[in-house]
């Protein structure tokens, strides 16, 4: 019997939960193989040092140690360096990044030797006795100093640390920056942060030596990209290398990469003929896993005297770190398309310079480029409002670009798929009781209370759904941006989806089941969703950049349509009618005018499988596969409002309210979308108030554990109040836009704007990020004319 209930748009409970709730998850460190060895990496204690000598002999002699090698001794393992797949300009300067360095340590934590042993403890103990002689060099730590001629060099052969310069090339009228009635020049900095998934990274490689076959279980977002690139690094032919992403305990960009330890596990499995496991400690994670942000922006804002925005001209310095990881040079560029925000401007300019430093590599962290951009735009809009003496809500209201339902060119050169900024904005203000808080702010200012109230707005637009392959090609990215799905209707009536996205908490199993259930007239529980294994779902481009539903979901829709087309042919054959006489209604094919003549998809799947009576030339089995290459990105948008209370005596901030009104197009599963917003906003609040990676003047990591790097707990988080507007995307058949990064993009300026707004009457115009009590207190003190 056909299932007539519809599931898309419902908060269907997650299919993923049962194993995770009962301790039966398959995280990498839960996997054990016979004869498995453990890898430990010997890491440089210095930020910048020439390697004079590596002596592993003592480690090799320890009982339980199977092998120990220096970078030089492993050189023969590599068919190529670790991958960087986004050389964004023709003249970008790059150097080879080897899994274990041979010449210099370029950041604290850089791997200089490895040990494999029978147990984790022995491997760690043996790593301690590897003797490395270093000649310390002056580290490059400051972006502006490092970019200058004459600076010490991170990579000597490149002749400079300023290794890449990219410009958007400008759009619209550049004259506005010289002629506009109001011209502001502002500077904003965003410190480094680390993504901090609660599961650190980990990898386990196995080998069948006689076959030359390898399997790598790795805590990754990108099994497919890892397969082709690790094949290039290790020389293991692609068809002999299987990558499995088992349950992945969060990622946030940390696992959108291909790391030395993954290549090492494979190479050392080849060398020893045994399985090799490596599990990252939290302190190692903070030292070596790719970090994000680390940028300085110089911004020119052009506007009218009424506060109507006319343009943004932005020059950015971006910290690349010690090596290019997978996407490093392209991350600032991802922000380079949204420095106009949701506003109707006349002039646009963006350029950035990437600088190598003796710190951990940077790469994508949730939002990747777009949080940096949105922070600058939304902080600058508030600065403009103060400059022209207008309410920041009013400046936004008169500056929003008009709505449109079809794709429309923007000054920055790409087309925005659909937009309707004002309703989300007005709804957010209404939900947050904006006017009432303005009154309360006035009253508290009047009475000079110690605790002042600030209202922070953040209206954002995001470029999500990475990405149209032709645009990626034009931007010199090495791969495509399409996605894939295979659908098989089993003879027993069940359905199997093999999908190319690789979730790590986003609930793809549930949502993809909902979509298939509605299209095929089955129940979501009768759909299984397989992913994260290059042998089971060989086609795909993985999960990052808020792409999964808008591209992977679209691929699924196309595959389902193919299934239904094939099923229709078979139904017409069995019911002895023309295909045009059939309609698919209430979950089944029905003959128009003869409703008793029905075929369900499960019935047709059985017929296609037995193949006893098929139309001429009809291929047995009800299976279809599809890929989808989007014509455009999707462009979510919205407005967030933060109400903050700032203690003007201590600088402490307390968030009273946090309202988010987002528009991610058509919603497949409201509970899951809300969950993505909750997590995204929390990530952004953490960035605004607490989190900062710090190195000292010698390049030592100061925030190397969770006791110094402040990932907030439930106590620090406010309750989030959410609503949505729905502006369907014309980019894909589901009308969806991405939502995984929106909260992280919107929240930091909402929070910092609220803090500045709370103390702006005291003369404060800026507070650095994270806005710690100390920073807020200092800003107040300086505004009051210094002195304690």
């Amino acid at each position: 019997m056909a299932i007539t209930e519809k599931f898309v748009g419902q908060s269907v409970l997650r299919k993923e939960d049962a194993s995770l709730l009962t301790g039966q998850g398959s995280f990498v460190d839960n996997l054990t193989l016979p004869g498995m060895l453990y890898l430990a990496v010997v890491r440089s204690p210095f930020a910048h040092a020439r390697i004079v000598k590596v002596d592993v002999s003592k480690a090799r002699e320890m009982p339980g140690v199977v092998g120990a090698w220096s970078g030089e001794e492993l050189a023969g393992e590599w068919a190529g360096p670790l991958p960087m797949v986004w050389p964004i300009t023709e003249d970008i300067k790059t150097s080879d990044h080897w899994p274990i360095t041979r010449d210099k340590a370029r950041f604290q934590g850089d791997g200089v030797a490895v040990v494999v042993a029978e147990s984790r403890g022995i491997a760690d103990d043996a790593a301690e006795v590897v003797a490395v002689e270093y000649e310390q060099l002056t580290p490059v730590l400051d972006l502006e100093e490092g970019a200058k001629d004459g600076s010490p060099l991170v990579h000597d052969e490149l002749g400079t640390n300023a290794v890449v310069h990219w410009s958007h090339g400008g759009g619209g009228d550049q004259g506005v920056f010289d002629n506009a009635p109001v011209q502001l020049r502002l500077r904003y900095e965003a410190p480094r942060i680390t993504p901090s998934p609660i599961e650190p990274r980990g990898a386990l490689a196995s080998v069948v030596p006689a076959m030359g076959e390898f399997t790598l279980w790795t805590s990754t977002q990108i099994p497919h990209i890892a397969r082709v690139t690790l094949s290039g690094t290790t020389g293991i032919p692609e068809h002999k290398l299987r990558i499995v992403a088992p349950d992945v305990g969060g990622a946030f960009g940390a696992k959108l990469n291909v790391y030395a330890e993954e290549a090492l596990c494979l190479a050392l499995a080849r060398r020893t003929g045994r399985a090799i496991k490596w599990i990252e400690d939290r302190s190692v994670s903070y030292a070596v896993t790719a970090q994000g942000r680390g940028v300085i922006h110089d911004v020119e804002v052009a506007a009218t005297e009424e506060g109507k925005l006319l343009g943004f001209r932005v020059k950015e310095l971006a910290d690349m770190g010690a090596y290019f990881q997978l996407l490093t040079p392209g991350i600032p560029e991802l922000g380079g398309w949204v420095y106009m925000g949701p506003y109707d401007t006349q002039g646009y300019w963006y350029e950035f310079t990437g600088v190598m430093t003796n710190k951990a590599p940077t790469d994508a962290v949730r939002g990747a480029g777009r949080p940096e951009a949105t922070y600058v735009v939304e902080r600058a809009v508030d600065a403009l409002a103060r400059h022209v003496g207008k309410d920041p809500a009013e400046v936004r209201r008169i500056s929003f670009a008009p709505s449109h339902a079809e794709a429309k060119p923007s000054l920055m050169g790409l087309q925005i798929d659909s937009a309707d900024y004002l309703p989300a904005f007005e709804r957010a203000l209404e939900l947050a009781d904006y006017d009432q808080y303005r009154k309360e702010q006035g009253a508290r200012r009047e009475s000079g209370e110690v605790k002042q109230i600030g209202i922070g707005l953040s209206s954002y637009i995001e470029m999500s759904g990475l990405a149209p392959s032709n645009i990626l090609g034009a931007l010199r990215y090495a791969a495509g941006g399409w996605e894939a799905a295979q659908v098989r209707c089993q003879p027993s009536g069940k359905v199997t989806l093999n999908i190319g996205t690789s979730p790590h908490g986003q609930g793809h199993d549930t949502v993809w089941s909902q979509i298939a259930a509605d299209e095929l007239g089955v129940h979501p529980d009768d759909v299984e969703v397989l992913h994260g294994d290059t042998s089971i779902s060989p086609l795909g481009m993985d999960t990052y950049g808020s792409r999964s539903i808008s591209i992977g979901g679209a691929a699924l829709v196309v595959a389902l349509q193919k299934i239904k087309d094939r099923a229709r042919t078979l139904a017409a054959h069995e019911l002895e009618v023309a295909e045009d006489d059939l309609e698919f209604r209430d979950g089944a094919f029905r003959v128009q005018g003869a409703p008793e003549k029905v075929r369900t998809i499960p019935e047709l799947a059985a017929s296609a499988w037995t193949a006893h009576d098929l139309p001429d030339g009809y291929e047995p089995d009800l299976t279809a596969i599809a890929t989808w290459d989007p014509k455009n990105f999707t462009w979510p948008f919205g407005t967030h409002v933060c109400i903050a209370e700032v203690d003007t005596e201590t600088g402490a901030t307390h968030l009273l309210r946090y309202v988010a009104v987002d528009d991610c197009g058509v919603v497949m599963n409201p509970a899951i979308v809300d969950g993505q917003v909750h997590g995204g906003v929390a990530f952004g609040i953490a960035e605004a108030l607490y989190e900062e990676i710090l190195y000292d003047e010698a390049g030592n990591l100061v925030t190397g554990t969770l006791t110094q790097y402040l990932v907030p707990s439930a106590v620090e988080m406010p309750a989030f109040e959410l609503d949505r507007t729905v502006t369907p995307s014309p980019t894909n058949p589901l009308g969806v836009k991405g939502i995984g990064e929106a909260g992280t993009i919107a929240a930091p300026p909402a929070v910092v704007n609220a803090i500045v707004d709370a103390v702006s009457h005291l003369g404060v115009t800026d507070v650095g990020k994270p806005a710690t009590p100390e920073r807020v207190w200092n800003a107040i003190r300086e505004a009051r004319g210094g002195g304690a």
Binding site: L13, R14, I198, G250, S713
Partner: protein, 158 residues
């Protein structure tokens, strides 16, 4: 090596371990109970939270030899006869987990907390989670799950 005898999820277990073995690795690697996760090396994240004689502890803060003769409950021991515990069920119904890595620790901390505080306020729930970090949910649905579980559990008792 040291011998450890301990009751885990109602079963008597005994093993030889290196004296430096932490309880969490004893559970995970010696006994094969991998539901208890490790997220840090400073006892900050709470992913490894278990019950020791009914009270929540971070199993990375104890040596296996320190729990000699005592009772440990892990996430694997919470469901009974294949039925999820009301806390597990509440996390499921309220979308209280995304990647699921912090979840066993969250649930075990909650089991201990709700025993002491059967009818908590939102604020008490948040304070009870101070030692358990989640990076996916922003805690909103975790708090909601725990309040829901408290309602279910006190309703079941009444």
């Amino acid at each position: 090596m040291a011998r450890v005898s301990v009751t885990v999820n109602g079963n008597a277990r005994e093993a030889e371990v290196e004296p430096r073995t932490l309880l969490v690795y004893f559970l995970r690697e010696t006994l094969g109970l991998t539901g208890t996760n490790v997220g840090c090396d400073t006892s900050s994240c709470g992913a490894c939270t278990v019950l020791l004689d009914g009270e929540s502890v971070k199993s990375c803060t104890l040596l296996a030899v320190q729990v000699e003769g005592r009772e440990v409950t892990t996430i694997e021991g919470l469901a009974t006869d294949g039925e999820m515990h009301p806390i597990q069920d509440a996390f499921h119904r309220n979308h209280g987990l995304q990647c699921g890595y912090c979840t066993p620790g969250m649930i075990m901390a909650t089991a201990s907390f709700l025993k002491e505080t059967p009818d908590p306020t939102d604020e008490q729930v948040r304070e009870s989670l101070e030692g358990n970090l989640c990076r996916c949910t922003g805690y909103q649905n975790i708090v909601k799950s725990i309040l829901d579980a408290a309602g279910t559990m006190s309703g079941a008792k009444a």
